[in-house]
């Protein structure tokens, strides 16, 4: 088994094929989208492949250490930041091919007009603990 992170970006990735902002969908199309996402997670729980799923607020802050006895320095949020993560799902699957297959299904979530979004998701393998048997 190997864990993969399926990352959804607000921006930074290539534009989805069906690129209409959600507030321009009909309420029924929004409901259909939510239902699809919910069913997808439920199905992965059922197959024993779901680990975690979280959504992030669109705005974040950069923070760094600023020396002994000083409060940390903050910067941002940056409107121009290229990459912005919207959320993720962590899956635990048998193969890289399976991770790609699932990401493909997630990307097919319906959008405007009830048609698949074809949105780009980033698939990143987790670095694992070293195996017990090494030789």
């Amino acid at each position: 088994m190997a864990k993969y992170l399926l990352l959804k970006h607000y921006r930074g990735g290539p534009a989805p094929v069906n690129d209409v902002p959600m507030d321009r969908w009909t309420p029924e199309e929004i409901s259909a989208h939510m239902q699809y996402m919910h069913d997808f997670a439920t199905r992965l729980e059922g197959t024993g492949e779901f680990v975690d799923g979280q959504a992030l607020a669109p705005e974040g802050t950069f923070v760094r250490y600023d020396g002994e006895g000083r409060p940390p320095v903050t910067d941002g949020p940056f409107a121009e930041t290229k990459d912005l993560i919207a959320g993720w799902m962590v899956i635990d699957v048998d193969s890289y091919e399976r991770a790609l297959e699932l990401a493909g299904e997630l990307s097919a979530a319906p959008g405007a007009g009830g048609k698949p979004l074809h949105e780009w998701l980033e698939v990143r393998p987790f670095l694992t603990a070293p195996p017990t048997i090494t030789e």
Binding site: D23, R24, P27, E29, S31, M34, A55, A57
Partner: protein, 381 residues
């Protein structure tokens, strides 16, 4: 097996161990071990005397642990004596426990966790699941909290307001996983009303009951939020409402108003209205005015602006809103709603999108996006 019964016995058992001389940290661990044991063996072999069983097992666990300790000799004296519980009534123990677990030296998250375990009798695993953190993290949070309060001397009663804040936090967390925190908060607040006579404790219990009564109608089957005005009022829990109203009226009659009674009064006015249109918004505004005097909270003034919008029209609501800091959470969502009511769908849709961008949770974000979509769809038709 009645898990609620086991849980309700927790403070009493802990109190008995305390009076036999066990310190809080060790006694609480022993009671937790006994609870876990009870959950394991009671289904097949229920005891005749649940409390007696828990006291015996917890005391044995306590002795097992302390025997292994370095302070063996001193503790063995304790074993030989095995004193009977003192003459103090159990009621005092329970109340003391509430104050201890909500002690001001604890952070809110620690106070919540400790209250749920030591007063509520939940297992560490259940609390961890409810707050979506690893069990080891929650165990550590609880033992640190216990260490903090073990230094607290308890000669004077604590401030009941700190206990109410903790219970309010638990209630607001709602439910996730297999523990219903809202129901648990109601149980703990009800138990508190039995050991302390205070109108604000009653006010908080009434507030919880009145909100809990609407829970089933607050979300649609697909998980989306249903606003108050659109909820199916025939599905509100009338038993819970009746109890909440009765408790509130008795509390208000004592003429010591506090913020929880005022909030409960607002919830009761909503519960009283057979339809959303029949809501007594004028009285609700008056209660928000009372509440603003009691708390001076900007969130209260934001909610008051919504009520003014209903009582005196959206223009009045927008005027009330204009006096508030627009960086307040949900300020934009309120503005969107009032602009829609004022007949400005384009402005409202733009503000709904902006509000969705700032929403603090997914359900609200989806709800606000849906509002924008609804207005945009209508306009393009």
């Amino acid at each position: 097996m009645d898990e609620a019964l086991i849980r309700s016995l927790t403070p009493t058992v802990l109190g008995i161990l305390g009076r036999r001389g066990a310190d809080f940290e060790a006694a609480e661990d022993a009671v937790q071990d006994a609870l876990v044991e009870a959950l394991r063996v009671w289904p097949a072999d229920p005891p005749r005397d649940a409390k007696g069983w828990l006291v015996t097992v917890a005391w044995r666990k306590f002795l097992d642990t302390t025997r292994a300790d370095a302070a063996r000799r001193r503790r063995e004296v304790l074993v030989d004596e095995e004193p009977e519980p003192g003459p103090r009534p159990a009621v005092d123990d329970t109340l003391r426990l509430y104050f201890l677990c909500a002690h001001p030296s604890l952070t809110p998250s620690s106070a919540v966790a400790l209250t749920l375990r030591a007063v509520g009798g939940l297992t560490t695993r259940q609390i961890a699941q409810a707050y979506l953190v690893p069990e080891a993290t929650m165990a550590q949070r609880i033992s640190r909290a216990k260490r903090t309060v073990s230094r607290v001397r308890f000669d004077q009663p604590g401030d009941v307001a700190t206990v109410l804040r903790v219970l309010y936090l638990v209630f607001n967390e709602g439910y996730s996983g297999d523990v219903d925190l809202a129901a648990e908060a109601i149980r703990l607040t009800r138990q508190l009303t039995a050991v302390i006579d205070h109108p604000e404790v009653a006010g908080l219990l009434a507030l919880m009951l009145l909100h809990h009564a609407r829970r089933a109608t607050r979300t649609a089957p697909d998980g989306s939020l249903v606003p108050l005005a659109e909820q199916d009022r025939s599905r509100w829990d009338t038993t819970s409402i009746a109890e909440g109203v009765e408790i509130l009226q008795a509390a208000l009659a004592r003429d010591r108003l506090g913020e929880f009674q005022a909030q409960a009064a607002i919830a009761a006015l909503h519960a009283d209205a057979p339809t959303a249109e029949e809501t007594d918004w004028v009285q609700i505004v008056e209660w928000y005015d009372e509440l603003a005097c009691l708390t001076d909270s900007p969130v209260v003034r934001l909610n008051r602006a919504v009520a003014v919008g209903e009582a005196d029209g959206p223009r009045a609501g927008l005027a009330a809103l204009a006096a508030l800091d627009d960086s307040l959470p949900r300020h934009t969502a309120v503005a969107a709603y009032l602009h829609e009511r004022d007949g400005n769908p384009a402005t409202a849709a733009r503000l709904y999108v902006e509000a969705a961008h700032k929403a603090p949770n997914l359900a609200e974000r989806d709800h606000l996006t849906r509002q924008a979509a609804r207005l945009n769809a209508r306009r393009s038709r």
